[in-house]
Each structure stands twice: as C-alpha cells, then as structure tokens.
Symmetry: C2
Subunit: 201 residues, 2 copies
DNA sequence: ATCCCACATTCCACAGTTGACATGTCAAGA
DNA sequence: TCTTGACATGTCAACTGTGGAATGTGGGAT
C-alpha cells in the first residue's frame, strides 16, 4: 500500500517521468522503500486512473511526465496524518537466532559474529555518506533524520550481535562437559516463552 | 522462503500438529516471523510432499502430527549455515520521514513524538516480559537473545524519534519567519542525497 | 441429552512482490 | 553512417502474503 504513497511523495514537489522515479527509488529510497519497475509503472497507471496523478507533459521516446493532482496531494497528507505506519512482522536474522540451538556453539557464535561484522560495515558506509553529505551539498533535512536512524540502527545491531556472541560463547564455557544440554533450554524448545517483539518500522 | 524454515525449526525438536504450530507462531514467533493459517497449512503440505516432513501420527478430529525428516533437518542446517539473512528493504516510518516536509513543522513534530511514545510503550511491554520470564520458568536461551534485541531496538527507536522531534522543532525556532522555506531543503526535494540504509534484519 | 468452545483441517479470492522479459527511441561518439 | 548505451515504456508468470471463510469433531459443562 505504501508504494502508492512513496510515488505520490516523490512527485509532490517535482514532476517526473516513470524513469526518473525509478532512479529515485534506486538511489535514495532503495532501503526505505524498495520498488521494482513493474510496481512503479503499474502504480503510475493506477494512480493516474484514480485521478491522483496526471500526465503533465510528453517528450521524446515516449516519455511521460507525471504531476500530483490536488486529490493526490490530499491523499498523501491523509496518509501521513491519519494512518499509522505498518509495523514489520518478520526478521530473518532473529528467526535464525531462535534456531541457533540446532548448531554447535561454535557455529552459533560464528553466525552472530558475522552479523556483527556486517553491521559494522554498514555503519562505516553510513558514516562515509554522512561525511560526503556534509561536504557536498545541503543535505535534505529529512534525509538526515533517516541517515541518523540508519546509523543508530547499525550501531545497535552490531553491539547486540557482539553481546549475543559473547553470551553464547560464555555458555559454552560454563557448560563445559554438558555441551549438548546447554545448547537448549529446559524443554529443548526455543519457542515456549512469549516472544519479544522485534518489529521494526 | 523463510516460512518453510520457521516451520522446520519449530518442528526440529518436537513434533507438532498444524494447530500447535499455529499457536507457536501466534505466541512466540509473531513478531519474528508472522505466519497465517493459510501459509502454515499450505507449507506443511509442501514440505511433506517434498519429503522434509512426514506425518508421524494421526489423532481425533483429523489431527496430524508432523515430524522433521533427516532431509528436513539437513535443509534447516543448510539454511542456517550457508545462506545469509535476507535484509529488510522497506520501512514505513522512515518512508514517512522522507515526506515530513509535506506537513507543518508542528504536524511533523507530532508524528515523531507519537512514534517515540509508541516505542516507549513497546519497551515497557518488553521489560514486563523480561520480568515475567525471570520469575516463571527457565527462559529459552535463544529467546532471551531475541528479547534483548527487541529491547535495544525499542530503546534506540525511541531515542532517535525524540532526537528527531527535537531537531525538527529546533528548525522551526531557527527558521522563525521563514517557516515555509525551512521545511524543505534547498531544492525542496527530500530525496536527493544518497539514502542511508535503514534496512533491518 | 444439548450446548458451546476449543481443536483441527482445508480452501478461497485478491493483492503485493519478484525478476525478469520485451520493445522502441535518442543522442553521442567513432 | 553505424554503434552503443542511456532513456523510456510496458508486460509477464510465478510466487508470497492477506484475511478471511468454511466445515467438522471432541469433550466438558449444564
């Protein structure tokens, strides 16, 4: 559902072609709202049919320039002010954490350490973006908010993964001769207590 | 794709019926891997047809008890050790952050403050779980790792949202008589710089 | 005996996502 | 002139996800 709003939002200030929008999705929004060609062109058609967009111009090569209609602008505002963000309900890494008991402690620690390294790499990349942005041009004010989120998230995840690796590694030491038993909880089931929310927005 | 692995993982230690699995998804895994009835029963059929599960028992009311086959166990291990977690590529909240410029500063601050309150509530709920778990029964060792992740995530998100609200609010003050201009960057487009990664795993 | 709720399974129509495929045009460079 | 890569659009089939609906059974309480 938010694809339509992403398209409306991108067009809110500047009209653009489908191809331009694709570029925006690839460069700026890829990790905030990934969208494929099929989706974007499909959505443009739907939004136009629904009267939320209109074709403002046509150029060479079949180019169509889209602009938001007043109805489209209203819909964008309605979405922003009257609906709640949809929370994410799936997290592949955490799913795997639940089943780490299927692995040896060494393998489990390895998984968590790889995760930490991946996050460290991501944090470094974001820090690089932060530097570039500071030097090159006035950064989008809202883009900077999102960048900070990404930085804090990467940092948090890295720290958690390192902590988790240390926890799992420490269990091996404490378990000593009871390695097999210590990899599982009392019932051997990792799913018995109420699961913590790990939803991400 | 990970639904199949979630099912395999849940069955790895204890055989269960489709209905039991549904309960596990609802209670323990709902925020780690949400799954619907259609999906679970559908997947059970596919996994059984593929030889990764088998029906070990049948009971009253058409009950079928499923157990993982050796091939199923191998597939679970392969997934855990040979594939990387799929990263999330969409985040509704951050998408909205990109378009906060469409709102008044007051509205934008309101959005961020509501977000912070939601996260605070989530953190409180997780802390409650943490306490309950400490008192009631031995908590799954891996479940506790996930719980800690959820806590850190909620905390990080709350702090970020409060920071962001303060940033946006401070811009209003600094802008003073230039309120309209200050809500946008130089070009009025929130998407120009390379977007920070906000992917969540 | 009857009722009701939990146990238990199967199925549906629709929407969203993926990862391409396909075709055509323009403009710059060789 | 020809080539090539970017510009530009549209479409497809398969899969996943959603939010139910539907049907039937067992067992405990009244």
């Amino acid at each position: 559902m938010s694809l339509r709003h992403a398209v409306l939002g991108l067009l809110a200030d500047t009209s653009a072609s489908g191809y331009d929008l694709m570029k925006s999705f690839e460069t700026s929004l890829d990790h905030v709202w990934h969208a494929t060609q099929s989706q974007v062109y499909g959505e443009l058609g739907k939004l136009t049919a629904a009267g939320l967009l209109e074709v403002s111009d046509e150029g060479p090569r079949g180019r169509k320039e889209y602009v938001v209609t007043p109805a489209g602008r209203d819909e964008l505002r309605r979405w922003l002010t009257e609906t709640e963000p949809v929370r994410q309900r799936r997290n592949d890494t955490l799913l795997r954490v639940f089943f780490l008991g299927e692995l040896s402690t060494q393998e489990a620690v390895g998984f968590l350490e790889r995760e930490a390294e991946r996050c460290a790499g991501e944090r470094a990349a974001l820090e690089e973006v932060e530097k570039t942005v500071g030097r090159v041009e006035p950064f989008s004010v809202n883009g900077r908010l999102a960048l900070e989120f990404g930085l804090r998230l990467a940092t948090m995840q890295e720290e958690w993964a390192r902590w988790a690796a240390a926890q799992v590694g420490a269990r091996e030491k404490a378990a000593g001769a009871q390695d097999g038993a210590a990899s599982h909880d009392a019932s051997g089931r990792p799913v018995e207590p109420k699961d913590p929310e790990s939803s991400e927005r």
